[in-house]
């Protein structure tokens, strides 16, 4: 249960892929209206969910990771566990709907 804030291309390996706990990464950009709606939901999930970290990745500033995971819509929320993508939620969705997608992957 933590919010590790913004991660960059260079930190992604260590902070997300190498993390012992699953990490939910919020791919976003300043100019994306729906991203601003979903970010508070992601922060709330980070604060309330045991055994999960949340992070934000700005797609403008971090094109490598964005491209590597084929993110072509934002907001996209990707759950990484043990260095692998295990779930993806595309588009602004309320907290409960996001949690429902994540739950099967959280111990």
């Amino acid at each position: 249960m933590a919010n590790i804030g913004n991660v960059t291309d260079s930190e992604f390996q260590a902070s997300v892929l190498g993390s012992d706990t699953p990490v939910l990464v919020d791919f976003w950009a300043e100019w994306c209206g729906p991203c601003h709606m979903v970010s508070p939901e992601v922060e709330a999930i980070g604060n309330e969910t045991a055994g999960l970290e949340v992070a934000k990745m700005n797609v403008d500033e971090n094109p490598d990771t964005t491209r590597k995971y084929g993110v072509l819509s934002i907001p996209s929320l990707i759950l990484f566990k043990g260095g692998e993508e295990v779930a993806r939620v595309v588009g602004a969705r309320p907290k409960e709907a996001i949690l429902k997608e994540l739950q099967p992957h959280l111990a």
């Binding site: 950009a29 100019w31 994306c32 209206g33 729906p34 991203c35 709606m37 979903v38 508070p40 939901e41 797609v59 084929g70 993110v71 072509l72 819509s73 934002i74 996209s76 993806r88 595309v90 588009g91 602004a92 969705r93 309320p94 907290k95 409960e96």
Partner: protein
């Protein structure tokens, strides 16, 4: 004990915020529960050229921010929450956001509509990987790529025109032999050298490989002849579905839209009013939504007065 509010407004597009401005000025201290798509469909648009009063046009998100500020100025409570369940069987009405409960003497529903999907193979599989319903969100990812825009209305025209800022080529696919979009929007599309049109075509399948869109399979609606097009992205703009699943079985609906006693905004449940695109399958404009939002606030005010509030 849960506080009972006089007026709760669900949704924060032009209908909801106009209702809030009028209800607040009537001293009803409305609560707006903004919903996850706060600001509504205008948040996904760019320049709005037909909202009266803005001679030089205004950006959609900017217009919504101004409406929200105007509502806040007159004592509107704005909550960034999404309602997941309602009980309209008795008054005060019950509303729940997760475990949190709200009670309302009157309810104004302005939950609007969201983009409709094609419902063809490949569409959901490649959503977020080349299939999108929001050009302003996702156009950025398709610099120098070839794109399809599906649809023939104003939204499709706007998306196609906007996407030429990024894409090398935009092809509009429409199922009829003429657009239903307004003349000015059509003309812009037809005059744009980066846009071409495939008329009389339905999308049968979105094609992709290795987690990315590679094209689409189309079918001519007249001859039935199939055709494959190679593109990296598909933007769907075929219309909208009203957001009424919360109210199924509790309010009278017609084809998914909330039924109101025109010209009022009264629904089948006394004390529940509805306005904007959740009611309107015909006009669907920011200004018509704002107009009906105003009516809903006045209807709610009269309803409360009639009960001696």
């Amino acid at each position: 004990m849960v506080e009972t509010r006089d007026v709760v407004i669900l949704g924060s597009g032009p209908a909801g915020l106009t209702a809030a401005i009028y209800a607040a000025r009537a001293d009803l201290k409305p609560t707006v529960i903004k919903g996850i798509d706060a600001g509504g469909q205008l948040m996904l648009t760019t320049e709005v050229e037909n909202f009266p009063g803005f001679a030089g046009g205004i950006m959609g998100p900017e217009l919504m921010e101004a409406m929200e500020k105007q509502a806040a100025r007159f004592d509107t409570e704005l909550l960034h929450q999404e309602i997941s369940r309602v009980d309209l069987s008795s008054r005060p009405f019950g509303l729940w956001s997760g475990d949190e409960e709200f009670r309302a003497q009157t309810l104004i529903i302005t939950t609007g509509a969201t983009a409709r999907w094609l419902d063809v193979p490949g569409e959901q599989e490649f959503r977020g990987r080349g299939v999108s319903a929001c050009a302003t969100c996702d156009g950025f990812f398709f610099r120098d790529k070839r794109l399809l825009v599906i649809g023939g209305g104003d939204s499709a025209m706007e998306e196609a025109t906007f996407l030429t800022k990024f894409a090398s080529q935009v092809t509009v696919v429409h199922r009829r032999d003429e657009f239903r979009a307004s003349k000015i929007m059509q003309d812009r599309v037809l005059a744009n050298p980066k846009i071409d049109v495939i008329w009389n075509a339905d999308v049968d399948e979105i094609l992709g490989a290795e987690g990315a869109v590679t094209g689409a399979r189309l079918r001519d609606t007249v001859t039935g002849e199939p055709q494959k097009v190679a593109v990296e992205g598909v933007f769907v703009a075929i219309g909208h579905t009203p957001n009424t699943s919360l109210f199924e079985g509790q309010l009278e609906l017609s084809k998914g839209y909330i039924v109101v006693e025109e010209p009022s905004t009264r629904t089948s449940v006394p004390g529940v009013f509805a306005a904007g695109d959740v009611v309107d399958s015909t006009y669907r404009q920011a200004i018509t939504a704002a107009g009906t939002g105003c009516r809903a606030a006045l209807d709610a005010e009269r309803f409360l007065e009639g009960e001696g509030h």
